[in-house]
């Protein structure tokens, strides 16, 4: 940190990097060099600022001006007009509904309902600088805890805050700590679960990349409370930057004496190392994760014994999620009452969500617990993209469920979501418009779970496979009347009989879509029709003779030559040969080719005939 005229904060979260943030940063260095202004402007690479859809984004202080979708070509203009002449570039600012440019970051609607606790520094400080973390109050909480509080007092304070695990289960953090605190052992371990496997969730990654010292401080406070002297960060191999940042943070903390022996002059000694995952969703489950650190297959084992009693190498172990740890320093700095004043009766504080799907403001947000889905999706998320209507929202990843329009006013907390058939999960929120087929979405999640099942217990290994088979049959047009009941029966069995959380929750996407979108399953089965035109076997292509101009382009582009006709007669698709590649629709200059829901009657008749022929041959 040096004193310079302007601080230029460039978001280098994964979304913005994919959108080209690094090229922009390099361009800034070039231009500032050319103009000899490098000693006036501080270029800081920050972690994720949140509004990934506007990426690459940047904020310029002291004014706090927010620029979106910046390209390398814009850099010179920013330097010339904003830095040199003091005239911010309006063109790069966000426009509100009245086409007014919104200049300040604090006025951007995306940020207005957000309350940042875990993400407090994310997108605000340089994650590679220990000094910047300390300047925002970092390690103050650890110092206070180590010098003025006993371990039991530390746990009591955590209890008063009401913090619950942010990884999905929502287990009260203080109970885990107390259990390990009470266990007698020569060695205790603290594990940070950074194996963020839920597709559509990237908050742990953003936190580790954007504010690694916060996670480290949270771990040390917890470790002191329960008497652990060694910690492990278990992070997915897919997150190389997160791994690098946390390793760097550990090294910096060592160097500054914030880690190692007798921290802050107390008796507390702590050291941590990083272990990388190797791509297995089930390793997010705590017993599986422990086995993976031990160097084995990540198979879960039955609980009890709980890891708090017998965990890593048989020693008492706490496994906490990254976001949980990210909340801890602020709770100790601002007090448990402050934290507990946010949220609902049973779910305190804030929660980070990753908004994705057919929503305008995709990105990372942090909101108070209890916020309604409507506020989350339409106010913070900015509503739906394009003209399509909201249909469903999927919460909690492959273990979660889908909610619909009728649930929009439901408050987001652990209990309410569970009761409605979804779950908090790690916080992935996937918003879907009315063009999405819910049967197909359920099949997607089932495919995921079949693939990721570790295979140890049979309800999960075999049951999910059977469920997937039924879903495949339904989306292929071979669904049977009894399939819906069978899916429910299997789903409930897998839920009750599986060993670990993966199997127990894997049927949720199917069961919740059956609960709220049963009619879609029925139309797939009975009418052989996918009304959203997603499941290819349940639609057909047809040419509107009134629109067709007889140009023959479709016939020439058809890979199976199933379109015939002439300029006068117009063109026809021979349904039995059509492979539904969609080429004809793409090339038609007058949009005469349409996707029609439902299997073509000729196809239905042919399949019937084939079936009868097979039966008679038998």
């Amino acid at each position: 940190m040096s004193l310079k005229r302007i601080d230029l904060l460039i978001c280098c979260g994964s979304g913005c990097i994919s959108a080209g943030a690094i090229k922009i940063k390099e361009r800034f260095h070039e231009v500032l060099n050319e103009k000899g202004m490098t000693n006036e402007i501080n270029i800081i690479e920050t972690g994720c600022m949140g509004p990934c859809d506007y990426g690459p984004v940047m904020v310029i202080y002291p004014e706090g001006i927010f620029y979106k979708k910046v390209t390398p070509e814009d850099v010179e203009e920013i330097v010339n007009d904003h830095f040199m002449k003091g005239r911010p570039v309006k063109r790069l600012m966000l426009q509100d509904d009245e086409e007014q440019a919104i200049s300040a970051k604090k006025d951007v609607p995306f940020y207005q309902k957000q309350v940042k606790v875990a993400l407090e520094n994310c997108g605000y400080i340089d994650p590679e600088s220990l000094d910047e973390y300390i300047a925002t109050g970092g390690y103050e909480a650890l110092g206070t805890v180590l010098t003025t509080m006993s371990p039991q007092e530390t746990i009591e304070l955590m209890k008063a805050s009401g913090l619950r695990g942010r990884g999905g289960g929502g287990f009260p953090t203080h109970i885990k700590w107390q259990m390990v605190h009470d266990a007698k052992a020569d060695q205790k371990y603290y594990i940070c679960n950074g194996d963020e496997g839920d597709p559509g969730a990237f908050m742990d990654r953003s936190l580790l990349e954007g504010d690694p010292h916060r996670v480290l401080e949270g771990m040390m406070i917890g470790a002191y409370a329960m008497g652990a002297s060694r910690g492990f960060f278990y992070i997915r191999a897919e997150y190389p930057l997160a791994i690098q940042r946390i390793k760097q943070a550990i090294a910096q903390a060592h160097e500054a004496g914030l880690m190692g022996d007798n921290i802050f002059g107390s008796q507390f000694c702590f050291d941590a190392e990083v272990r990388t995952g190797a791509g297995a969703f089930v390793c997010g489950e705590e017993t599986a994760l422990i086995h993976s650190i031990e160097g084995s297959r990540g198979n879960p084992t039955p609980k009890p014994p709980y890891p708090a009693i017998s965990g890593l190498w048989g020693k008492p172990t706490v496994v906490n999620n990254v976001e949980t740890l990210g909340n801890i320093p602020t709770i100790y700095r601002k007090g448990p009452e402050w934290f507990a004043s946010m949220g609902t009766a049973t779910s305190k504080g804030t929660k980070v969500f990753a908004l994705t799907g057919d929503i305008r403001n995709t990105g990372l947000v942090e909101v108070p617990m209890g916020i309604s889905l409507r506020e989350l999706i339409f106010d913070v998320g900015g509503g739906m993209v394009g003209d399509h209507k909201f249909k469903a929202v999927q919460l909690g990843g492959p273990s979660g469920g889908c909610l619909t329009t009728e649930h929009l006013d439901v408050g987001v907390d652990y209990e309410t979501l569970k009761e409605k058939g979804a779950m908090m999960g790690s916080g992935g929120v996937i918003v879907m418009n009315d063009q999405k087929c819910m049967v197909n979405v359920a099949k997607f999640f089932m495919d995921f779970c079949v693939d990721e099942s570790c295979g140890k217990c049979s309800p999960c290994r075999i049951g999910l496979k059977q469920m997937y088979g039924i879903l495949e049959r339904i989306t292929n047009g071979d669904g049977r009347e009894e399939d819906i009941d069978e899916l429910i029966r299997l789903g409930e069995a897998v839920n009750k009989l599986s060993l670990c959380g993966l199997g127990q929750t894997a049927p949720n996407p199917v069961l919740s879509t059956l609960r709220y979108f049963r009619n879609e399953y029925e139309s797939h089965i009975r009418d052989k029709a996918c009304n959203t035109k997603v499941c290819l076997p349940l639609i057909h292509f047809d040419i509107d003779k009134d629109k067709c101009i007889g140009c023959s382009l479709c016939a020439r582009k058809c890979p199976v030559n199933c379109i015939t006709g002439s300029r006068d007669e117009k063109y026809t698709i021979h349904q039995l040969d059509c492979i539904k590649c969609g080429n004809c629709q793409e090339v038609c200059p007058v949009k005469a080719v349409g996707r029609i829901p439902g299997m073509h009657p000729e196809m239905i008749a042919k399949r019937e005939a084939d079936k009868q022929r097979l039966a008679s041959e038998d």
Partner: protein
């Protein structure tokens, strides 16, 4: 004991050094396998056998680990690995169509390698760039909002 000579002995020597360096860590076998995959490009049985002998671990256990984790491959892979994101956000935004377009462009199915050894197409579960969905990653570079065949061709041609 000298391993069969499909690979240069120098590669095995590098691996031997890595094993020696890691031997004081508690249960480093997954770390060793990861580095072995970096050295050899993949983990054929003979490399697994070598690690088993050097670390004094049954090969069956190593095989169990290699087949459990998605990160490890027992088949040779191409020079460029195309990781197509099949996370939920990408799925909702049309990942299946993206897979089809890539497959048409490269002439291979998911999990296969092109005959010239240039590309392997594989699936990943979420790369955390959901705002750019549908996304695929080659090396460290992510390509987002890939919505038509021309764009696919253009990206692939950069690597040909």
């Amino acid at each position: 004991m000298t391993p069969s000579n499909q690979f240069d002995n120098a590669l095995y020597e590098r691996l031997r050094a890595v094993i020696a360096e890691k031997k004081d860590l508690q249960n480093p076998v997954i770390e060793v396998l990861r580095i072995a995959q970096e050295i050899f490009g993949y983990l054929p049985i003979e490399v697994q056998e070598f690690i088993g002998r050097e670390m004094n671990i049954p090969v069956s256990k190593i095989y169990g680990i290699v087949t459990f984790y998605n990160f490890f491959s027992m088949k040779p892979r191409g020079k460029h690995i195309i990781n197509v994101c099949l996370g939920t956000a990408c799925f909702v935004k049309g990942a299946p169509r993206l897979v089809q377009m890539l497959s048409d462009e490269l002439g291979i199915a998911m999990g296969e390698t092109t005959p010239d050894g240039l590309f392997t197409m594989s699936a990943v579960r979420c790369v955390g760039a959901c705002s750019l969905a549908p996304v695929f990653v080659i090396g460290e570079e992510a390509f987002g909002r890939v919505e038509n065949k021309d764009k696919v061709k253009q990206v692939i041609n950069q690597f040909r």
